[in-house]
């Protein structure tokens, strides 16, 4: 898997963006998924690791958040969503200059489908729901970015 480089922040004018940050500087994660069960599971799992989470239901809501100068350290991006799917939202975020870690999550098991999603600009791609082992490795990756 390719890993992104660069800081986890949007390339907007200096000081003009609002970084979602928890008490003590915990990493922030945007969960983008149309499945309410996955949103709930991932939110609770990430909160247990001390991550600050925010949830939206589709790619457009995610893009709109970043456009409003709100950024997150990591984005968990579902592949198939109504209104705007994961690949499209990922492409838009990268085109905006978003360098946050974007992790694709999909219930599609085929390697070709994951690779196609990766091509949109993901740092990593995993099957959902995520396991605690995978979340641990994602946090380690986030720490490396900082």
């Amino acid at each position: 898997m390719d890993f992104g480089t660069g800081p986890s922040s949007t390339n907007t004018e200096a000081g003009s963006y609002k970084r979602i940050e928890g008490v003590g500087g915990n990493f922030s994660v945007l969960i983008v998924d149309d499945d309410p069960i996955i949103r709930r599971i991932h939110r609770v799992m990430l909160n247990k690791f001390g991550l600050v989470t925010h949830v939206v239901e589709n790619g457009k809501e995610a893009v709109d958040l970043f456009r409003s100068d709100t950024c997150f350290d990591m984005v968990l991006m579902d592949m198939e969503m109504p209104i705007m799917d994961g690949p499209k939202a990922t492409q838009e975020l990268r085109a905006m200059g978003v360098n946050s870690m974007i992790v694709g999550v999909t219930s599609r098991g085929l390697e070709s489908e994951k690779q196609s999603f990766m091509g949109a600009g993901l740092n990593r791609c995993h099957e959902k729901p995520l396991t605690t082992d995978i979340v641990t490795s994602l946090i380690q990756e986030l720490i490396k970015h900082y």
């Binding site: 499945d35 309410p36 069960i37 996955i38 599971i41 609770v44 247990k48 219930s107 959902k128 396991t131």
Partner: protein, 179 residues
Amino acid sequence: MPASNADTDVEIMNSFTQPSLNSCHISSAMERNQLHRQLANMRKSLFDQGFLDEQFIQLEELQDDANPNFVEEVVTLYYRDSTRLILNIEQALDKSPLDLTKLDSLMHQFKGSSSSIGAKKVKLECTQFKEYCKAANGEGCKRTFLQVKKEYGTLKKKLEAYFQMARQVGPVETACRPK
């Protein structure tokens, strides 16, 4: 998960040596122990009979003081959300000719949700359904969907009974917690 049977047996034995305890406390402790065992056996059979898989355990591991009813909440959410999906699949199966692409997509969503709670048998039937979609076998899809609904309903009944028992065990334990 409840403490080992050995621990609870020791607790019961110790209760005999404390003069301040009466037969009501001993009886409650033994009843509590029996309920714990029943709950553990119910849980074990759900896995042994293939109704649940490892993902359910992942959910259990997320349950804590901050989210004390997390597993039941997620399962409730699943059954509430999947009602809509099942209805959509039924409506799609009533159409002629069948839109197999749409059916596959709907079932993919349902399979994903079922996987999230560890609904192993439901997931297997969903996979079979998707195979029939790929093979353009409409009759196979319709037959398998009956199986999907059957497993879905069976699991629902079993989980309702399990959570009801878990709720019964919970308050009893709290009420009789030793000082």
